[in-house]
Subunit: 319 residues, 2 copies
């Protein structure tokens, strides 16, 4: 596999991970379509294993480890979906996983990681990278990065590959962007099929938008967002691929994400996390870009605190 | 069609309504399975047209009207899913629908009914039956009852028919019971396949439980429940069919329903209404009845105020 993932890597990943992931369904909403003036197809990765697309990339990466690497075990740091995904992937292969998590990680995520048989090392939020580095020095574990890894990106691309198989004649595909693994995979697949891929990003953490606009890979803004899966700086490989592709990033506000998240619950009966609502929020906000088009949107995951569905949570998110 | 619907009526209904309803997917949850010690299969009628199984029965009934009946238009009274279902069914057939709704019906339900082109007559909650009778006297409209109608019951039975086609070797099927249309349809289908059907009912509105236990068709309790689709008295046809079948009704508390509703959102990413959570709540509460069985549960609908997903809503429901 090269330093930049190719379409063939995505095809190989799809075959490799098929026994362990769901082929998630695609939903439509007459309400959303009339709001946008387009045909919108929602790829429901909230129904994916571990509740998010992250299972795809982690499984592909773990299955691609050599026997010697696998014997050393896998480590990563994540309080979110990637940690669960790596734990699940290692359980599939029957190897040791160690997840570095912040001390105040939600109980449900801690339990999920433990449920897959992974070890957890807790540390202060600010010391996660160092704790991971120290652990790897001592243990010799292999690190599976959440997005700056060609195996992971190829795995994430399989979500868009499926969507294109499930829905004919798409004009555009939209995915959230945090580190950029999902969007980079989507871009590789979409380009092969002559389809445009856009990213959707919270405007408070718009480093990817500004980086691709200005040709400089900016650091993360460090500002909070309800899109807690998207706070990360855009990765090096994603930056390179998306720069070459001339990818457009559409930014949305936290309130637009929460509104879209609640609209999906009310109208399509789908529970998605705020990060996953960036795509639907973007098609609503930038509807004029998609007039009469067939628009695929990847709903990246469904791991969300239910409190956010109460209307009063809007105000809380501004605090 | 006889006074008691037969299995053949359900088969005919399935073919009749197929172009207008979704073949809804079936979900499983490893978490729920290990909680219950059984294999539980969730039939997701929250993804059905109008957001609930009610579309099935209403469409079957409206399509079965003679041309002369259809020309008179259809009327019903409902603040909930049946009203939307009748409005949708009449839109399909291109005939007039009139829905009697309480003055304080939620805006979203009023808009949905209007969106299908139906007329609405508002009246005080306590005068709904009389208002419907008066309207029918004047207009000559045909009434489609929400459950005491063999055409409606046959239509509702198609949900269980699909579930049995989708999942092999079920031991038992569980559906909510309010008026009893869904459970009666399930019972007719299940009996044909040698499967047991149980009802699940909120314990504050347990008239069906007591009626079938005592052999007396009791009136509705008149007590509130978060299962607002299930407040109705058991219908005459359902009472007859379910009495003959010796059906068991499992009762659950409002808190158990809310807990199950939130568990489904967190673990399966499905938005269901509290009424639809009676089945999952029952398999959890009465887990010992289902040990190692293959249990089908019909999630009846997903039309719910999102406020109920906030944990504080538990207390509010007790008020």
């Amino acid at each position: 596999m090269s330093a930049i993932p190719a379409y063939a890597d995505v095809l190989a990943a799809a075959e490799r991970i098929a026994p362990y992931v769901h082929r998630t369904p695609v939903f439509t909403s007459g309400f959303l379509d009339s709001l946008v003036g387009a045909n919108v197809f929602l790829k429901a990765e909230n129904f994916q294993k571990v509740g998010a697309f992250k299972a795809r990339g982690a499984i592909n990466a773990v299955l691609l480890l050599t026997e010697a690497e696998a014997a050393r075990g896998v480590a990563t740091q994540s309080s979110g979906n990637h940690g669960q995904a790596v734990a699940y992937a290692c359980a599939i292969r029957g190897i040791q996983a160690t997840i570095i998590m912040p001390e105040h990680a939600p109980r449900i995520k801690v339990d999920a990681v433990r449920g897959y048989g992974a070890e957890i090392i807790f540390c202060p939020q600010s010391e996660r990278e160092q704790t991971l580095a120290d652990f790897v020095d001592v243990s010799g574990s292999v690190v599976v990065h959440p997005f700056d890894d060609v195996r992971v990106i190829a795995g994430q691309g399989t979500a868009t590959l499926e969507l294109i198989e499930q829905v004919q004649d798409l004009d555009v595909v939209i995915t959230p962007i945090g580190g950029g693994g999902l969007l980079t995979g989507a871009t590789i697949v979409a380009a092969h099929h002559g389809i445009v891929a856009h990213g959707a990003e919270p405007e408070t953490v718009d480093d990817a938008f500004r980086s691709l606009r200005d040709g400089i890979r900016y650091p993360a803004t460090g500002v909070p967002s309800v899109g807690d899966g998207l706070l990360t700086r855009i990765g090096e490989i994603p930056y390179e691929v998306l720069s070459d592709a001339g990818t457009t990033i559409l930014t949305v506000s936290d309130d637009e994400m929460l509104d879209a998240m609640r609209m999906l619950a009310e109208r399509t009966k789908l529970v998605v996390e705020p990060s996953a609502a960036t795509g639907p929020a973007a098609v609503v906000r930038y509807a004029e870009l998609f007039s009469d088009m067939r628009v695929g949107v990847v709903l990246s995951g469904g791991n969300v605190a239910l409190e956010l569905f109460a209307p009063s949570a809007s105000a809380a998110s501004d605090a």
